[in-house]
């Protein structure tokens, strides 16, 4: 009923007091305290799995806290469901948009906020209201457009409009820039500033420190389900935030000697890929990677890196272009070329280990051979597989890659993210490839395992192998790569030697701006 000061602090739009939440044995939030001042942009940072999204889901009534209380404008408020959150003035823009794709913008806006049992008056009211909001906040979207035909940035604006239409005072955005181009992200931040100036309170959840520094007034740091600290943004620095996030000084400097690049191992020329919806995902992409070199591919998620990796790995079809490996052109016309690539010595650590890299209900010994299960050494005749051979193979990989727990019979779903990734990595690296394609090697992986995984990749390079690394974590790209290619909107926007570039330049390239070229213009 009262806070520590014994009075109601009305300067706070939201105050979370002692929030705890666990899912079975996993404690997602532990005794969280969070003050959010009215009319500010408040950032919440933390690594993947730090408990940010859970906390916001509690605030939005998606989950119930096990203990603790929520105060809104100083009043203790129960939020048993999303409806209660909405009526308390809270709006949320989810990481994965909560939009009905075949509906129009208007239909999406009124869904759940209709005025009566008939749609016509609600739609008319929403149309005029939308007009007003568009003028007020620079939030222009065609009300009659079908959502599935809108760009990602426009869909996000629809989400924000949905919240504003419900007259929210507090807007929560969960990782809003993950899918945006830099230009779209800038547009978003302008909108947020505008909303702030109108007196709205904004909570921005992200793991990107640059965004925190750029737009927030205050920032709270979460780590392993706990709230570490709340700081005034202008009085802190990215390095301090990073340190608080991971709990110790991170040196994202990987121990490695300068590369000794050999001859070109793999070369791609003019790759073009048009997806089912007719969107050009790759536009004439050319690159090469040399033996003994790590080629990093940087870019905001969704700018063609995933497609590029999949074309190289033989599981996506390119519409035109060539890939040459050992003087031979690879087949780019089928999605079933993964075996052919493996036989040639091209291994692939996929971006999504849950849906691609592992079969979750398989036991370790089954997954350590996944993709290589057709090799003669695992054969026992008559189409049967040699379980003994597969188990022996698994035991070796578990030992050399320190996979924990060292259990050949455990289902992969029951390993931690880091150990799952080690299973994939062990399998691909020990296939002794000449080229290794790696996507997001440390996504959802704990700090301890990150170092180990990075070291393995560097070791492979030092053995003279060629590596193509795709990551949306710029730090990781910089720490590992010898040479960096930046992708923007399906094309290569720039190429730099790792030693001759910096974060600022790469950031511009990720936004599709080449500083060298624009200087000349």
């Amino acid at each position: 009923m009262q806070n520590q000061a014994g009075r109601i602090d009305s300067a706070l739009a939201i105050e979370l007091v002692g929030i705890s939440k666990s899912f079975g044995p996993v404690q997602a939030n532990r005794d969280i305290h969070l003050p959010v001042r009215r009319g500010t942009i408040h950032g919440i940072v933390g690594e993947n799995g730090a408990g940010k999204s859970t906390l916001m889901s509690i605030l939005y009534g998606f989950y119930q806290a096990d203990s603790g209380e929520i105060r809104i404008n100083g009043q203790r408020t129960e939020i048993p469901d999303s409806l209660a959150a909405i009526s308390a003035g809270i709006g949320m823009v989810h990481q994965h948009f909560m939009l009905v794709q075949p509906f129009t913008v208007l239909e999406n806006i009124i869904l759940g906020a209709e005025d009566g049992p008939l749609l016509r008056p609600s739609l008319a009211k929403a149309r005029s209201e939308l007009e007003r909001l568009a003028n007020e906040y620079e939030l222009r979207v065609d009300p009659d457009a079908v959502v599935s035909e809108l760009s990602v940035g426009a869909q996000q604006r629809v989400e924000i409009l949905k919240a504003l239409y419900r007259e929210c005072d507090i807007l929560i955005l969960d990782e809003p820039t993950g899918v945006l181009t830099p230009a779209e992200a800038d547009h978003l931040f302008r909108i947020l500033e505008h909303l702030k100036s109108e007196g709205k309170t904004i909570i921005l959840i992200t793991h990107k420190l640059r965004e925190i520094m750029a737009v927030t007034d205050e920032v709270s740091i979460m780590r392993r389900g706990e709230m570490v600290k709340t700081l005034v943004t202008s009085e802190t620095s990215p390095s301090e935030l990073a340190e608080l996030m991971v709990g110790r000084r991170v040196l994202l400097r990987v121990e490695k000697t300068p590369a000794k690049p050999g001859p070109v191992a793999l070369e791609a020329k003019d790759l073009t890929l048009i997806d089912d919806k007719g969107v050009e995902r790759l536009r004439s992409v050319s690159l090469n990677v040399r033996e003994g070199e790590i080629l990093g591919i940087a870019g905001v998620a969704g700018n063609g890196q995933s497609e590029l990796l999949e074309v190289l790995a033989g599981i996506a079809v390119a519409n035109s272009g060539t890939v040459t490996f050992r003087g031979q052109d690879l087949d780019l016309s089928k999605i079933t070329n993964a075996n052919q690539r493996r036989k040639l010595g091209i291994a692939h650590v996929p971006e999504d280990r849950h849906r691609r890299g592992l079969v979750m209900p398989y036991q370790t010994w089954e997954n350590t051979a996944f993709g290589y299960h057709g090799q003669p050494r695992f054969e026992a005749g008559y189409g049967l597989m040699s379980r003994g051979e597969m188990r022996n193979d698994a035991v070796g990989k578990i030992e050399r890659f320190d996979i924990r727990p060292p259990d050949t019979n455990l289902k992969s779903a029951n390993f931690s993210g880091g150990n799952q990734q080690k299973i994939v990595l062990a399998r691909e690296i020990e296939s002794d490839p000449d080229v290794l394609l790696v996507g997001q090697p440390t996504r959802g992986v704990d700090i301890g395992a990150i170092e180990f995984i990075h070291q393995q990749i560097v070791t492979l390079r030092d053995r003279g192998k060629a590596i193509i690394l795709v990551s949306v974590e710029l730090d990781e790209i910089q720490a590992l790569s010898d040479r960096i290619i930046v992708m923007f909107d399906g094309r290569v926007s720039g190429e730099r030697l790792s030693s001759e570039t910096d974060e600022r330049e790469l950031g511009l390239l990720m936004a599709g701006i080449d500083p060298e070229k624009s200087e000349g213009a």
Binding site: S22, G24, P25, A313, I315, I335, T336, N337, A338, N339, Q340, R342, H348, P350, D352, R355, R356, G357, L358, V359, M360, P361, Y362, E366, F370, G371, H373, G374, E379, G383, L384, M385, R387, K411, A413, N414
Partner: protein, 365 residues
């Protein structure tokens, strides 16, 4: 989430409780129609297991259900819900019949391999089209296999009435097969060894069913194809990543499933009836769904569940005879309840179990 539960709970306790619930509800139905459920169970068991006659019939039915149950299980491992067993088995009957009628076979040992081929080929063909459409065109396999059950039924009626019927006869059935195609009955086989049992339809196919179960086990858990099927069943992107062709594996899984369903023709048509009659499948294809669900899609489980359904079918017939209030359709009700409780309502037991075990898990650590 499933993996939080201990293996024995997942594999034994939950299915058992589900089964008990299904039979409890069935018992209530019996009470509702004014009969004594205990007495009904006694009659059921005596009728099905109380004599070599009863056991023979029970195992004869079970043989059929092993084939149709394995058919559902094979497809299921590749992530495909094949409810077309009924139609595939019907077509399998045509295949076996054509082989049996084609020649004046001198001995069943010569006819058998070709009959197997015929039954499998026709059953497989009827599963191939839905499999192909699923793999290549994305047509939902459940809907297409339902449609193919009806199309198959119409086709079989047409063939029986217009092509295969004995000229001049009114009955929509083929002429009797030559002596040289009749599979030996179990009472004949055991008679050779001097063991005398009652005359029942139980025939050599029972061994074929066991061989089928063993081969299915080898396929799913020991072969490369089975490994690839299970990977595809889990996630298509994963399969593609591992160099597995989803189109190929989907079609093969359906073809094998259809062939297994077609195999039931050996038991019924070639082993017992010695001619093809209208609707010889009689719902056995659907029983296969219940059998596979109850047997958790494992060949051993399928064999056990098939025997249980054999008991229900044989005992149910006896029961209907002794308790006129309970008609043979009681079996269909029990079958429905088994599918409902072990399949659709599985979480009725699983959710509380998860709460129970996960809670105790946090307490201990």
């Amino acid at each position: 989430m499933n993996d939080k539960l201990p293996r024995w709970v997942d594999l034994a306790l939950i299915p058992l409780i589900n089964l008990i619930l299904a039979f409890l509800v069935a018992g209530l139905v019996v009470v509702f129609i004014g009969e004594d459920p205990i007495q009904a169970v006694r009659l059921l068991l005596v009728g099905s297991l109380g004599s070599s006659y009863g056991i023979g019939f029970t195992l004869y039915y079970a043989t059929t259900f092993v084939f149709t149950g394995l058919a559902v299980a094979i497809a299921f491992h590749a992530g495909l819900f094949n409810i077309g067993g009924e139609g595939q088995a019907a077509l399998g009957g045509i295949g076996a019949t054509l082989v049996c009628l084609a020649f004046d076979w001198p001995h069943w040992t010569l006819a058998l391999p070709f009959a197997i081929l015929g039954a499998c080929l026709f059953g497989a063909a009827w599963a191939f089209i839905p499999g192909y459409l699923q793999a290549k065109r994305g047509s939902h396999i459940v809907i297409t296999t339902i449609m193919f059950n009806f199309i198959g039924a119409a086709l079989v009626v047409y063939l029986l009435v217009n092509v295969l019927k004995v000229p001049g006869s009114m009955a929509p059935e083929t002429r009797n097969f030559a002596e040289g195609t009749h599979l030996p009955f179990m009472h004949e086989i055991l008679g050779v060894f001097g063991v005398a049992i009652s005359k029942t339809p139980l025939n050599l196919s029972a061994f074929l069913a066991l061989v089928g179960a063993f081969l299915t086990w080898l396929l799913i858990w020991r072969s490369r194809l089975g490994y690839e099927m299970r990977a595809l069943g889990f996630s298509e992107p994963a399969a593609v990543y591992a160099g597995i062709d989803p189109v190929r594996v989907t079609i093969i899984a359906m073809v094998l499933s259809g062939a297994m369903a077609g195999m039931m023709a050996l038991n019924v048509v070639m082993g017992f009836q010695h001619r093809l009659v209208l609707d010889y499948v009689g719902g056995a294809g659907f029983v296969g769904i219940a059998v596979a669900l109850m047997g958790r899609n494992h060949p051993v489980g399928v064999v056990i569940a098939a025997i249980l359904f054999g008991i229900l079918y044989q005992g149910g017939a006896e029961l209907a005879f002794d308790m006129p209030n309970i008609s043979r359709e009681m079996i269909v009700v029990i079958q429905a309840l088994v599918i409902l409780f072990t399949g659709a309502l599985e979480n009725l037991v699983r959710f509380p179990m998860e709460r129970l075990f996960v809670k105790s898990g946090t307490r201990t650590g």
